[in-house]
């Protein structure tokens, strides 16, 4: 807690000038992701205009849709269909004050409105709420890998990133959702299922397997404040270690003995690879480029979060509508997460991130801030096309992004996705975990690293 709020102060000092909304960060009392009427949205480029729901590919139902390019029309009805969802309990939305531990609770959806009187003292910290669930994640994963090899160097490489220093954001969200859905369906009668816990571990393993391969591809030097795997070991061994982690995760998935969950999580693996392929090339026109970027973002980041929360709801016995709601929460959360990540790449210091900044530019990748910036500075276009290869490109692009509204616009888009995630989180029956989902979405938006 303490260190996070310090980071928070730094965030404000550093970002105060451009942060779109000046609200205090992660755990600030008046934090709001919900776009209030007073806030004027910055202009978005054509590809992003007209509501985020339209430009993000809608990959519901765990079907093999990911190869489709995002369509502009199919999503139009989605907000309606969600608001008519049967799991909206009118009484739930209306009773802003329901009691937990005798403390006054406030419905987060209304927190942006300035209300007189004392603000609630009780704040849900997802990490604290799930302390018991999360403390053994890394140990558990290491044990699973340990059981699957007798070879020390393989074990060492495979567990290198399971050192307990990660944010564990994927397991955190998966367990929060699992508990929130369990509560939604069974009240206090159902605790966390062991299969749901497994999914949380598996999500982190799939993520790490992709990190390991990314490091070989990108030849990165640092990750999480230490030398990355490709610096430490033979690249061929590192690649195999990535395959190994994936294989063990896949065995764990199979042991859950649930056909749908296996399908959903296999789709994640496929999305990750396809997202990586999309990163190899960019599109010619601006319009296509933004859609391309968002699809890539979905596949590389959001798919994993969305489909693991979907999996835990399937395991809870949720019907299709409820698990799709969970999926939509995860998808929005994941998109926001990556947008913020891309933004932090421009504003955060290397020390805070544990990896170098402007890394994306150096890798030749045009992320949201750049794509927004080239609305105002068309001279960025040729640089995007040549992947910032020429001397001075990276510095020039970096400067232009800061001069433009690109960072605010990225922040705004991230915020929209967060609001949507929060809106969905509020459709679940009120419980500490449901509140945790709301806070987690806020945390994603306001994080420093």
């Amino acid at each position: 807690m303490g260190s996070r709020s310090i980071l928070n102060v730094r965030l404000q000092e550093k970002l105060g000038a451009w942060l779109f909304f000046g609200a205090p960060g992660i755990r600030g009392k008046s934090v709001s992701c919900v776009a209030g009427p007073a806030q004027q949205p910055p202009t978005l480029p054509a590809g992003a205009r007209g509501g985020f729901g339209q430009i993000i590919p809608n990959l519901g139902n765990g079907q093999r849709q990911s190869s489709n390019e995002p369509t502009q029309s199919t999503d139009l009805h989605r907000p309606n269909s969600i608001s008519l969802h049967p799991c909206i309990r009118p009484e739930h939305n209306l009773t802003a004050l329901s009691c937990h531990r005798g403390t006054q609770m406030r419905n987060y959806a209304t927190m942006n409105t300035q209300q007189p009187g004392p603000m609630p003292e009780y704040q849900v910290d997802p990490y604290r709420l799930l302390e018991d669930d999360l403390k053994d994640v890394y140990t558990y994963v290491r044990n699973a890998l340990r059981r699957n090899t007798y070879q020390e160097d393989l074990y060492e490489i495979a567990t290198y990133y399971f050192d307990g220093n990660g944010k564990a954001i994927r397991p955190m969200v998966a367990i929060l959702m699992a508990r929130a859905v369990n509560y939604h369906m069974y009240k206090e009668k159902s605790g966390l299922l062991s299969s749901q816990r497994e999914v949380a571990m598996i999500s982190e393993m799939i993520h790490t397997a992709s990190l390991v391969h990314d490091d070989v591809i990108d030849q990165s030097d640092f990750r999480r404040g230490k030398p990355s795997v490709n610096v430490m070991w033979n690249h061929k061994k590192v690649t195999m270690a990535g395959d190994f982690i994936l294989a063990v995760a896949s065995m764990m998935i199979a042991r859950l003995k649930n056909n749908d969950v296996t399908l959903v999580l296999s789709q994640v693996v496929s999305d990750l690879v396809q997202g990586e392929f999309m990163q190899l090339g960019s599109k010619e026109t601006e319009n296509e480029r933004f859609a391309h970027y968002l699809t890539k973002t979905y596949r590389k980041t959001a798919s994993l979060i969305a489909n693991s929360v979907k999996s835990v709801s399937i395991l809870a016995g949720a019907d299709e509508q409820l698990s799709d709601l969970a999926y939509q929460y995860g998808r929005n959360m994941g998109l926001a997460f990556q947008l913020v990540d891309d933004l932090l790449d421009f504003v955060s210091s290397s020390a805070a991130m544990g990896k170098p900044t402007a890394a994306d530019l150096k890798l030749g990748l045009a992320t949201a801030p750049v794509l927004f910036a080239c609305e105002k500075y068309p001279e960025l276009n040729p640089m995007i096309m040549r992947r910032f290869q020429e001397p001075g490109d990276v510095e020039k692009a970096f400067e232009l992004v800061h001069k433009s509204q690109g960072l605010e616009q990225t922040q705004f888009l991230a915020k929209q996705h967060c609001s949507e995630a929060i809106r969905i989180a509020n459709l679940f029956k009120e419980s500490p975990y449901q509140k945790g989902l709301v806070v987690a979405a806020d945390y994603v938006l306001n994080r420093m690293k």
Binding site: T149, L154, H213, I217, Q219, H235, K236, A254
Partner: protein, 421 residues
């Protein structure tokens, strides 16, 4: 790809080796088939054409259309189109991915498909339980659609592993990649391998059989484990472990093949080390695929287990056959330091290990001519031949328990063709 190598190189071998008939096959008609193919072998040898191709192409007819995953569907996918585009940039560089890709695409279409083919043949030879609905059967070929999908998965996993194995180690400071070609090649190789792997994940998930998913995932695990066994040079090429003086029998593969293999005990024991390396490298995948396909057909655990043994032994026989090939009269150049003849020779003459140790930096530093001479003079080649025969016979023994069929004959023919060489 390894297969195509076997097949291309095995033809000169055939001249020296006596033909081995399939003593296990008693069916009259099959005997006739086999002997006729033996005649064919003789003819083909004169024409310098490998009989292997014949055994394989006949077998293909039995299970319907060619089985390779290199189907239109695969070739037309966006990602592969992308890869092809990027491969062009690599032309002129030294990245081994080009060689791998060439091997996959051009090295004789018959050979590429052999692993999937074997899975389909054993599927057909074993048949399936009566309560499987017609909808799920490919009546003409005599296999289930799910079995065909599994055969495809087997090939995708194998190819993915080969492609990943073909990366170049660019770990600093021995990064000699001035042009960036190597890095780019690695990127494409890694992604292509991952693409195949992710596709197999989805194909497997669609079969809706979690035991099968677990089994095949454990085969992927075994493949990745294989790359960590024993000492390695900078490019991760394997070197044999220092030979131990007391040899132990290696009995690992009985209870539960979902468990990982114990490595340390096997290292330094010639046969055990060789077996361990190649079970992880090849036997596990083919064995588990054969086991899996019998699972899909609803056969008993007992028969599934035998399917595993069949695939495992076949893969090992194959490997032994491959291993002998660099020691034909007149061969030159480097060979795998962990091939059976070399490992057996080391066991016989441990003082040779100093020459192996020259390769710890890079296997290119090893004096291959010297080692080849030692192998040719030692007992290594005979022991390897014996090893191959043991595994061939173990595979045939399983076949014998299946009812006579054209698919069974085809498998026996393939084994015989291999034994011939």
């Amino acid at each position: 790809m390894a297969l195509s190598k076997v097949l291309c190189r095995q033809l000169p071998l055939r001249k020296f080796l006596p033909s081995v008939s399939c003593i296990y096959i008693n069916n009259k008609q099959e005997t006739r088939l086999l002997s006729s193919s033996e005649i064919q072998f003789a003819k083909l040898a004169q024409e310098k054409k490998p009989d292997w191709n014949r055994a394989v192409s006949e077998a293909e007819k039995i299970v319907g259309y060619p089985t390779s995953f290199l189907s239109l569907r695969w070739l037309l996918s966006d990602e592969i189109a992308n890869v092809a585009l990027h491969l062009r940039k690599l032309v002129g560089s030294n990245h081994p991915l080009l060689k791998t890709a060439k091997g996959l695409l051009y090295n004789g279409k018959n050979n590429m498909q052999a692993w999937g083919l074997i899975v389909l043949l054993i599927s057909k030879a074993a048949g399936h339980s009566a309560d499987i609905p017609d909808m799920e059967q490919d009546k003409a070929a005599g296999v289930l659609h799910s079995q065909r999908a599994l055969a495809e998965v087997t090939e995708m996993i194998r190819t993915s592993h080969l492609v990943h194995k073909g990366l170049v180690n660019l770990q600093p400071p021995n990064n000699i990649d001035a042009t960036g070609d190597m890095m780019f090649g690695n990127k494409i190789a890694l992604l292509s391998g991952d693409y195949l792997l992710s596709n197999s994940c989805i194909e497997l998930a669609n079969l809706r059989n979690q035991d099968l998913v677990e089994l095949m995932s454990s085969a992927v695990r075994d493949l990745s484990e294989a790359e960590f066994v024993g000492p390695r040079d900078k490019q991760n090429n394997p070197l044999p472990a220092k030979p131990k003086s007391n040899q132990v029998e290696y009995t690992q593969f009985t209870d539960n093949n979902l468990e990982p293999l114990v490595v340390s005990e096997a290292l330094g024991n010639a046969q055990a080390e060789w077996t361990l390396r190649h079970v992880l490298n090849a036997g596990s995948l083919l064995g588990k695929s054969c086991q899996g396909t019998l699972k899909l057909a609803g056969h008993s655990e007992d028969l599934q287990e035998k399917g595993y043994l069949f695939g495992k032994h076949l893969a090992l026989a194959w490997q032994a056959c491959l291993d002998r090939e660099p020691f034909q009269q007149g061969s030159t150049g480097p060979f795998s330091l962990v091939c059976a003849p070399m490992i057996f020779t080391l066991q016989h003459k441990p003082e040779l290990y100093v020459h192996i140790e020259n390769g710890l930096e890079t296997v290119d530093d090893v004096d291959y001519d010297l080692l080849r001479k030692e192998v040719m003079e030692g007992p290594g080649l005979d022991l390897t031949k014996k090893l191959q025969k043991e595994h061939s016979q173990a595979a045939l023994q399983v076949l014998n328990e299946l009812p006579a069929s054209d698919a069974r004959t085809a498998l026996a023919n393939i084994i015989a063709a291999m034994q011939e060489s």
